[in-house]
Each structure stands twice: as C-alpha cells, then as structure tokens.
Symmetry: C2
Subunit: 373 residues, 2 copies
C-alpha cells in the first residue's frame, strides 16, 4: 500500500483526515508519541497500542549513533527492530545535531558534529539523512532543514530558510524509497514573509506532506498562532500538515484550529517521568503532598488503564520511591490523555462542532489541579 491522504471533514479550519501508510491507516488529527531510541520510554509496543497510539516518531540522530542505521537496516529497520508494527515517522536528525551534539560546524554541505555519547565525529547532510532514514524505514521521513535559534534577526532566518529549500531539493533528489513519504519542512521563524516564501518554494517541489518546523522554540504563543494562520491558506489542502515538536494540550487544540493534522512532542512522556500528569482539568504534579492520601484516580474522567487501576496516593508513593513502574503508569496516562483528546477533537470535527469543543476543553484545562481535581 502506497502513501495516500484524504480530507474526510472540516470544521472551520480544522480537518479530519485519513492517511494510508504501508503499515496501516492513521486518522487525524493525531499525536505521535516520541520513541527517541526506538522505544517510548517506559512503555512496551503493546502498551502503545493500548493507549491508542497509531504512529510513533523515532529520532534519526539518536539511532544513527546507536545502534547505527546500517545495523538497524540489517535487523529489518525500525519495524523489524522495535516490535511496533504500525507506522513510524522519523525526523531528519538536524534538530538534535543543533541541540544535543558538540563541536558542530554547519556549512552548505551539512552539519559536522561530535556525538554526545562518545565524542566520535559524524557528518549529517541532506543526502546522509535520507540514507539513514532509508535504512530506518519509517513510513514518513523528513527533509533535512536548518532551524535557526529564537530570537534571530530577519537576515539570519532568511539565510537558514533559503538553505532549507536547497537542502529540501537535495533531500528529494536523494530519496528513492517509493514506500516512504518525504515531507518538506517550512521554516522562516516568526517572519511571515519568510514563512510564505519557504512554503511556496517547497510547494514547487511537490512533497506528499509538509511539516512546520521552528516553532515552540521560545517564541510567544501568539507568534505560533500567527504563523499557522498565515500558512493555512498557502499549504495545499490535499497534503498532511505536521507541526513539529508541539506541544501542550492547549497547543494541540490551537494547532488543529489552524489546520494542523499531526503533532509530536516529548512533553507527555518526559513530564510523566517527572511526575506531572496532564488531565481533563489541568495539570497535576504528583509530588505535591496534598496527594499523599488521595485515593482518587489521577483523572476521574479518564478511562485509561492507570486511572482505572491506581490512585494518586499510589502514584505519588511510587514516584517518591523512585520506582520505574511510576514512570510507566504515568506515561500510560499522559499518552492516553493526549491521544484520547485528539480522538475527541476528531469526533467534534466530523460533527462540525470543533469550535465548541475547543472552547469547552480550553476552559476545562484552565481549571488548576488545585481547584478542580
């Protein structure tokens, strides 16, 4: 089965779509749990299925360094290696080179860096990124981009955006696998003129999907919303749109409201390990002493395994005791909450009632754990 994409319903600018991939369908809007090194931290592939995950993101940078993309290819790629039989998406690796590695030098050719694991020297170019992603075998892969820091002056963002287009062209030229959909990544920071130029240049290359990169990097929320609103009429209706590295439950609602179909973020998984739960009534920090004898489930409105089985008091105890089961149980809940929220978003779009849903949910999320839970 090749890649295909279909808009099934809209409600305002929000879209409910169906993506077909070689490893099964994905209904959008969708959140993709992050499985950095080939596993979502604390979960088994079966757990992922049970929280409702449909597609998992894996990080090219981490996997190229360990266990290495050639070994991964020998072992059947991500699907053969990890036990997750649904679709995968891989990023280009560029963002992690910029944020995690040391001694990096970026030229037109690509990025030269030292591994954060052992200091060995590596190169990541658009061609090498595609080679790695070909070896990993994800269903959706990303063209390598240059993501400028925030804040950066217009001229610097302009240069990075222009390079992103050149790298997108090289990525496309290097990409051979017909069973993978290669996405172009729109850059341009918070500058609408650069965002528009970036999108139009990538559209000319006719990618099967478009990602929006370089947001949620420190800019005010209004800037993110402005950029997405500006891009919505420019990006083609008949291609999936993926907002990279975003975000909070509120960000997801605001992204969907501006035409976004796909999201990924480490927030629900990382925060779970730090004891922060996302619930239908706001955030809950399990370390708070007020939960010491609280026999209620983390989120009384949540049907997930964790909420059906254990109390806040138990999770707090396990977290304080440093038990890794705490990380598993809280990760299960946070992902179930994210995925369930987007399923309900989708339902509201199919019913043409997304705007009502969004407003109501934002109101509920604004209730602090202190008052509402």
């Amino acid at each position: 089965m090749a890649f295909s994409f279909q808009v099934q319903a809209t409600s305002g600018r929000a879209r409910a779509c169906l993506i077909e991939t070689p490893h099964g369908p994905v209904e959008t809007p969708i959140f993709m749990p992050v499985g950095t090194a080939g596993a979502v931290k604390g979960l088994t592939p079966r757990d992922l299925g049970e929280v409702g995950a449909r597609i998992v993101l894996a990080n090219t940078y981490h996997l190229m360094l360990r266990p290495g993309d050639r070994l991964l290819a020998e072992l059947g790629g991500l699907h053969g290696f990890t036990g997750w039989s649904g679709p995968f998406l891989t990023d280009s690796g560029g963002y992690q080179v910029f944020s995690l590695s040391s001694l990096r030098r970026i030229t037109e050719e690509g990025a030269f860096f030292r591994s954060h694991l052992d200091g060995t020297a590596h190169t990541l170019s658009p061609e090498r990124s595609i080679e790695i992603q070909t070896n990993l075998g994800a269903d959706m892969v990303m063209a390598m981009d240059e993501c400028p820091p925030f804040p950066a002056p217009h001229a610097a963002v302009d240069a990075a955006t222009a390079r992103t287009t050149r790298w997108a062209r090289r990525s496309q030229a290097a990409h051979r696998r017909r069973d993978q959909a290669l996405f172009g990544i729109v850059q341009g920071g918070v500058f609408l003129d650069l965002r528009e130029r970036s999108a139009r240049e990538l559209l000319a290359l006719d990618f099967p999907g478009y990602a929006v990169g370089g947001l949620s990097v420190g800019e005010p929320k209004q800037d993110m919303h402005r950029v997405l609103e500006h891009l919505d009429p420019i990006l083609p209706q008949d291609r999936p749109r993926y907002l990279m590295g975003v975000g909070t439950p509120e960000d997801l609602l605001e992204g969907v409201a501006r035409g976004i179909d796909m999201f990924d973020c480490v927030l629900p998984t990382r925060n779970a390990r730090n004891g922060q739960l996302f619930t239908s009534r706001g955030k809950l920090s399990i370390r708070n002493a007020r939960y010491k004898a609280d026999s209620r489930p983390p989120d009384p409105d949540c049907p997930c395994y964790t909420c059906r089985t254990v109390s806040r008091a138990y999770l707090r105890h396990l977290h304080q005791a440093g038990e890794i089961t705490a990380a598993s149980l809280m990760t299960l809940h946070n992902l179930a909450f994210y995925l369930d929220t987007l399923r309900r978003v989708r339902q509201s779009i199919l019913l043409g009632q997304f705007e009502e849903f969004r407003k109501e949910m934002l109101r509920a999320l604004a209730v602090s754990a202190a008052e509402g839970l």
Copy 2:
C-alpha cells in the same frame, strides 16, 4: 473465603498443592515476584497477571517506612493501594532491618534501627510487625524471626533459633485477623539439630504454614539441600512450606525435590534490570557484544510477550541506551520464565514424572548461553 491448603499430588517428595486465600487460589509449586515497595519494579499489575503471577510478595520494612502502614491501611491495604487484586504475602520486616538499616540494636524486645531513607528511629518487635502486617492486609503474613549471619557458631545460631520460637509465640498472640494465615519461620542455620528443634517448637504452636528462613545466605548449596531433606519428614504434610529468598531456577527445582511449595527471590527481577536473562538453556547476559546483531528472541523456547515481540539485539540496544523499557521487557521475560518453569514442574508432579523433568531441565540449564543459545 478463609485460608485452606490441600495436597493434590506428589511425585517423590515433590508436591502439587492448592492454597485457597481470600483473594483467590494459588496452585503450587509457585514463585512469588517481589514487589518491595508495593510494585514489582518495571511492571504494572496487568503485566504481572500476564506473566502468570498468582501471588506477590511485599516488604514490610520498606512499606512501614514509606508510605507508612497506617496510611496504607486507610487506603485499603495492599490490595486497595496497588491495583494487584490477587493474593499478597508480606515478610516480617526483620530480615531487611538486619540487612538494610543502620545503627540497629537487637534485644529480646525487638530491633531498634534507623531508616535507610532518612535516619529516623524505629522499632520492630514481633507485635509491631504483626500490627504492620495487619495494616498491610496480605493473605499470608510472617512471624518475626531472628536470622543469624552465615557463618555463625552453633551457640549463636542456637540463641537466635530459641529467640525465633519466643518471637513466633508473641507474633501468634498478637495476631488477630482471621483472614490472614500466619506462618512460623524455621531457623537453625546449617545445624540439623537446631533446624529440627526449631521446626518442632513451631509445630507445637500449630501455624497454618511454615517458612524456612536463613538459607541462601552464603552457605554451600549442599547445606541448603541437607537442611531441606532433614526438615521434609518433620514439617507437616498438610501445611504449605515456603523457602524464603530462594533462588535460581536450579534452586527452585532442588527445593521442589525436597518438598518446598513456595519461593520468592529478587533474582529474576533484579537481574533483568542488570541485563541478565534466565532462559531454558541457561543465563544470557544481554550486554555481551555477541548479541549486537542477534535477531533471535531472548529464549527461542519461551512464549512470553518479550520473546514473541523483540530480539536480543533490540534488548541489548535498549539496555545500553539506559532505556527503562529494557528493564520492563527483560523483567517480563524473567518472571514469565520462572513462573512457566514452575507450572511445568507442577504438571510433571501431577503426572508423577517430576524426577525426570528435574533431571532434564537441570541438564538444559547447564548449557551455557555461549554454546546453547
């Protein structure tokens, strides 16, 4: 449902029994996973059910210190707190006081110690241990014993054994809950005369079950076997026998061969977290470079989730990357292997073929991972 015990079949000295508890039946021989702080490290209650666990051990010492037994009682005891709805067994806490706490003083009254967590002062006496275990609410509870170190001279073991009987009497006098079965613990080190005296003194107190403590503490295997062989005709046939803190798969087979029904040990769970897998052909250390590209399951003969889903290469990668999913997956396998082994042991007893099973399995286990896997 009150506690009951029934021998269903024997094969040599090996026994297949049925224990009824207020939280369901337990078929023996059985291995009890250790859930020290109220969770088996890296697993959810559901995982425990899926690996075939029937009864879980929790540690009185850890739970009295955190979250505290009174709080646990408020929250419904271990069953209400942890989400594990099957039977629990708790130890007396004495062994951990001796091995984990600091500044301890042991008198006839009990043990005075400082918490390994925060240095606070605590007392554990036979009466306090029963009070805690009453609050925790396990189905099977233990009388507090004094476990002398190994090696220790006859006179020292004699004194500890005599005290163990006095403490057993006090434990019994303090114990009120009719829905809990209180076990006496046979001590006596490697001295058969003391073991025999300990057993006979406890038998006079008529406990519904008997544990054998103070083994697997450094003595030669032959000593453990000798003690068990000596106790087998002394311990009553119509009561369960629990060999505490034991052991390797080989130890389980040798224990069953000498009339033992119940086992617990941190070995399968702790070793899983350290990358050591128990398999039908011996031990496998996943850190070994030879598994780097090994696409075979950890144990080709094992039907557990981990062996059905992932390869040695994947587990090695996750372990090397410090991913907690590695601990979960390997704990799942090790416990499934232990529990499945004892299910097969039970089947062989029911068929009157335990001795053949034992010999064959010991032969298979002796095959090193290097040669056989």
